[in-house]
Symmetry: C2
Subunit: 378 residues, 2 copies
């Protein structure tokens, strides 16, 4: 059955769980990390490479694709799966976050948002119905409700207004759906305020949507504040639905959130950092442009099974970045995505073994005393 | 035996031939097209992808690698094959062409060239012995003699001086060789002057080098003038040695040169044009940024077996270029290299069938009346 979500293991020591979400394009094992393919391409990687690093579902951005090439063009070309030749599940966001963060805002009102395209200034409007329409054109397996996402810190009144609109808009999104092969996830707002989050969640739960996301985090606040909020909130989200934390984050943020009960994540960090010569390794980050790697013939991570680590030296990757060769960003994007997926695999195994709390403790200790990240910059 | 060159078929109607060149990293079937990996990377492609499109040997540039990361660093890291993880044969040029075309020249004298790095202005000197030393550090299977390569048109005296130096330097290069696992190819200069080319060839033949290249073409002259020179010259090069035309060229130039007796080619055209949204198809070139491809769900070339044509539409590739996605250059580089290799495969089959003259006639007709190239630009 499409979108059935089954939980196989609940961790004994934390709120973490292992599960499977069925989609029209195949099952997703959770917890899951979703690479970001903003404009219909995970930057620098072919679909084969994305699959090879272990990605099972990818994310694409409604706002960007609506602006270019346009959602109707994607629909005419067979939808996003055909367009970008990704045969697995896809999730599209609602465009809300980008409208607030990228576009030149014209006006937010109770019914939607008027804005100007950040590409060419074209006046546009996005509201619950049009966001759903665009996402139906794109044809992702999971689509997101259109929400208002205020930057943090925000006044209480701003957050309350955003929560109120987000709830009302979620209902309008559900009513606007004309396809039955897409799961509409609701988005919970409410900033760092637990009560507001809970009341938002309660209202959205009445819609009985197939999944719920935590939005409005990783938008300027301290990551520890986010972790505290999630610790109190995530496990109070409907237990039988997948829980998705939008736009997060660093490995430590992800494992903390999983322990708090979150199932799904997306973030540009592995690919964006990779394009900027940063490689994730256990306990830190290497900056491959650093001169210390000039003659380093070891792989980025000797324990990693990715194509980059199985073949190339740090010295070669440094050379690629200094010579502005595209292959550098490609190889580090591959490695960083693989690093994230391997972390998630370790987390899943720990949940099954009932040892996630230990893994998290180890990561917290590494995080408190980073042996690599701090000393690695030029 | 390393570097044995055997000819399997001589075309009955032209001077073309099919052969095999043995190298320490495996055999090369000729005629052959070699992708260019200037800085130790064929731009945007992994070694797996390069192999998958059918490349058997790649080229790297001595000048660029000597400047960055430095040939001694490459040597310390195990040589170019290990450094860039290409397990097949590699050819390095001598650096001569780049010194004359890219560097700020300080002084050309009878013994070599003093110049300033185009990267940081560092004063450097390249001469026959240092070029061989650098190429031994890099460790390619085929290395090139250091030559003087004047731009065309050039005064007769300039060409004569270049020929004289090129001959003398070739002997010095041979004397400077300390490795016996690298084939040193001589380079023939002499501009568009057949007599000068023949006398240069005659002098170089006395060195009995394992291969000979035609240098100093595709440097400003009309491609038809190049074709005329090659028609009279290529078949007079030693018949039992591989003949390499450096830096050429368009598909028509390559097939003309093969018919004249050339065996080996390299050119940045397939990858550089690919990065600029141009795709080679039979009889012309498509510019994928063109708005006519906005809704075109067909592949670039329905007859092509490359990953790009087997999966992606022209509309998607156009979108990638308009959105500045790295995947666009990668996919078109893949396709264009595959297009070149498929052309060479057709040429080899035609040589074996004795029908190369017919294939060339067809290509000349398409070339005279291009159906795609001329009308395709925005």
């Amino acid at each position: 059955m499409a979108f059935e979500f089954s939980i196989e293991t609940n961790d004994s020591g934390t709120h973490a769980r292992c599960g499977t979400l069925q989609t029209p394009h195949g099952p997703i094992s959770t917890p899951v990390f979703m690479p970001v393919g903003t404009r219909g391409s995970v930057k620098g990687l072919t679909p084969i490479q994305i699959k090879d690093v272990g990605s099972s579902i990818i994310l694409a951005n409604t706002y960007h694709l609506a602006l270019r090439p346009g959602s109707e063009i994607v629909r005419e070309l067979g939808g996003l799966h055909d367009f970008m030749q990704w045969s697995g599940p896809i999730l599209t966001d609602s465009g809300g976050f980008q409208v607030f963060s990228l576009a030149t805002l014209n006006d937010i009102d109770d019914d939607g948002v008027s804005f100007k395209s950040h590409i060419d200034g074209t006046p546009m409007r996005l509201d619950p119905a049009s966001s759903v329409k665009i996402q139906e054109d794109l044809g992702a397996d999971i689509i997101m409700a259109f929400d208002e996402c205020p930057a943090l810190p925000a006044e209480r009144a701003t957050l309350e207004r955003a929560v109120e609109r987000t709830i009302r808009w979620a209902g309008q999104c559900r009513d606007a759906q004309s396809r039955d092969d897409q799961a509409l996830f609701g988005i919970v707002q409410g900033g760092l305020n637990l009560d507001m989050r809970l009341s938002c969640m309660e209202a959205l739960a009445e819609l009985d949507l197939p999944g719920y996301a935590v939005g409005g985090l990783s938008v300027g606040e301290d990551p520890d504040e986010m972790a505290t909020l999630l610790k109190g909130f995530a496990h109070q989200m409907p237990a039988d639905k997948p829980r998705y934390l939008m736009g997060v984050g660093r490995p430590i943020d992800i494992v903390r959130a999983i322990a708090s009960g979150i199932d799904m994540f997306d973030c540009v960090m592995p690919t964006r950092n990779g394009r900027n010569s940063f490689a994730f390794v256990e306990g830190g980050v290497l900056r491959l442009r650093n001169s210390r790697y000039k003659l380093d013939d070891t792989p980025i991570d000797a324990t990693c099974d990715c194509y980059c680590c199985q073949h190339f030296s740090r010295a070669y990757i440094r050379h690629l970045f200094l010579a502005n060769e595209m292959l550098g960003p490609t190889l580090l994007s591959l490695h960083n995505l693989r690093h994230y997926h391997r972390l998630i695999e370790r987390v899943r195994a720990a949940i099954r073994a009932g040892t996630l709390a230990n893994l998290l403790t180890t990561m917290e200790e590494q995080h408190a005393a980073p042996t690599l990240a701090a000393g690695d910059d030029d």
